[in-house]
Symmetry: C2
């Protein structure tokens, strides 16, 4: 897998992913739990932001969390140890070359991974092959085209569009959230149900203003400044005006909306 | 009030509003109910699409439903009679010149009205003055900037943008949903809480594919074809391509997303 992870691997990014998991945890994970004794593959665990939540919510399940980045796996292990987790095994491996036999897992969990893949259907089909018949897959993805806000701002939209273009150049898809249903169907899953998880932020919810609008979404856009400018996608002044307008949405009369999509499907049982 | 209602008043529009209320009724109204004996002003009832739902869900409350269009009031009366409603009185009046004393109502309900008003804050402030202290207001609005879909299509986005521009030319605001919170705060309401009501449609929900994507949203865009072309907002071929791409989202692998916003606030009690 030669995918480029456009968000980068630097410490601030790490912190951003942590913030994201911290403020969105209920919205994204409250309806995910695995029975005691079941085995769960977390494909693309990154620095373990979701792993800790997952494993704590299903203390009797056994997790195998894999990632293509050795550095991320090291950080995820550190985080799991700090949280005192004893039900997670970490493995450094590529989704497209996994050292597991077919039908080795009861469940699969994938979060913020498909957006980075050139071949999302192929990846899902591999994960499908690793599932026992009747087992479940859970997929969570964002969609940067789902971001809108008050005051509206063409400059802010242009800055966000830079992220969409960079991710496309890297072979990924920042608009993958809306596409979960057809991708999961095409990969052969059964009983697919997708539900949107909208983050609505106004100043009556100061924790979300800070935790989501400012420190998750706007911080992510701020983080691609140099890359977007170097790729000639935007002029520095335009980008900075866009970021300023994103910060404007955190004021008392501002509103920010973003939607994650969560898809659940089943591995077909044998006929 | 000299607002122009851009959706028009023809029979097909009437039918569209009816379809909209039929398929979205739970999403929009399930958490609205008024106690027996309370008085409710429905401001801008149009052809009564919401009135029937409202009055049936709160059979002990007494509704006064008003609209600026005499034709719409006539149609709303017909609909209420057909539904056997006995707890609704209809009045033909303008929100900006209402024949009610201050603090005459326990509750106010406004649905799909602010989007058409040049002065939404002033309208809300008038409605506030008609409420008894401690009474509630409920406001529901769409937001056409919240529409996105798979496959994505610049042509479809351009066709939708025509509707946004026409509504703006008419003095309205097709993006008002995201703005409910600041509008309600500015109008002086207390304890304002806005919640998004997202309509997520994929082919596992055929009732929504037909009832919402096709017969509500796409039908609305189709309905502005002549007006948009006459206003030189778009070439006929581009508009038609956009509509075709909206229909494309109703196929087996298509997805369509739209969000309504529901705001609830309280009239301040006297200090």
């Amino acid at each position: 897998m030669s995918e480029i992870y456009v968000h980068g691997y630097h410490p601030r990014e790490n912190e951003r992913l942590q913030d994201q998991a911290g403020t969105l945890v209920d919205l994204l994970h409250s309806d995910t739990g695995y029975p005691a004794g079941s085995t769960v593959l977390e494909a693309g665990c990154g620095v373990g932001s979701q792993t800790v939540t997952l494993a704590q919510r299903s203390p009797g399940a056994r997790f195998t969390s894999v990632d293509i980045s050795a550095d991320s796996i090291a950080e995820a292990k550190r985080k799991a140890a700090l949280a005192g987790l004893t039900n997670v095994e970490f493995r450094h491996t590529d989704i497209f070359a996994m050292p597991f036999g077919t039908e080795s897992f009861d469940h699969v969990f994938v979060c913020f991974v498909l957006e980075h893949l050139t071949q999302p259907v192929e990846a899902l089909a591999i994960l499908n092959s690793l599932l026992r018949p009747g087992g479940s897959i859970t997929v969570i993805e964002g969609d940067h085209g789902s971001a809108y806000f008050y005051p509206d701002s063409p400059a802010a939209r242009a800055a966000i569009q830079c992220q969409v273009k960079l991710q496309r150049k890297a072979g990924g898809n920042a608009l993958v959230g809306r596409q979960l249903y057809p991708l999961m169907i095409e990969a052969g899953f059964d009983a697919v149900r997708v539900s949107p998880r909208m983050v609505y932020v106004d100043s009556s919810r100061p924790d979300l203003v800070d935790g989501f609008t400012r420190r998750t979404f706007t911080a992510m856009i701020e983080g691609i400044r140099e890359t977007a400018i170097a790729a000639c996608l935007i002029e520095p002044e335009s980008f900075d005006a866009g970021v300023q307008d994103l910060h404007r949405t955190t004021e008392a009369d501002g509103v920010f909306c973003y939607t994650f999509f969560k898809g659940v499907g089943k591995k077909r049982r044998r006929a």
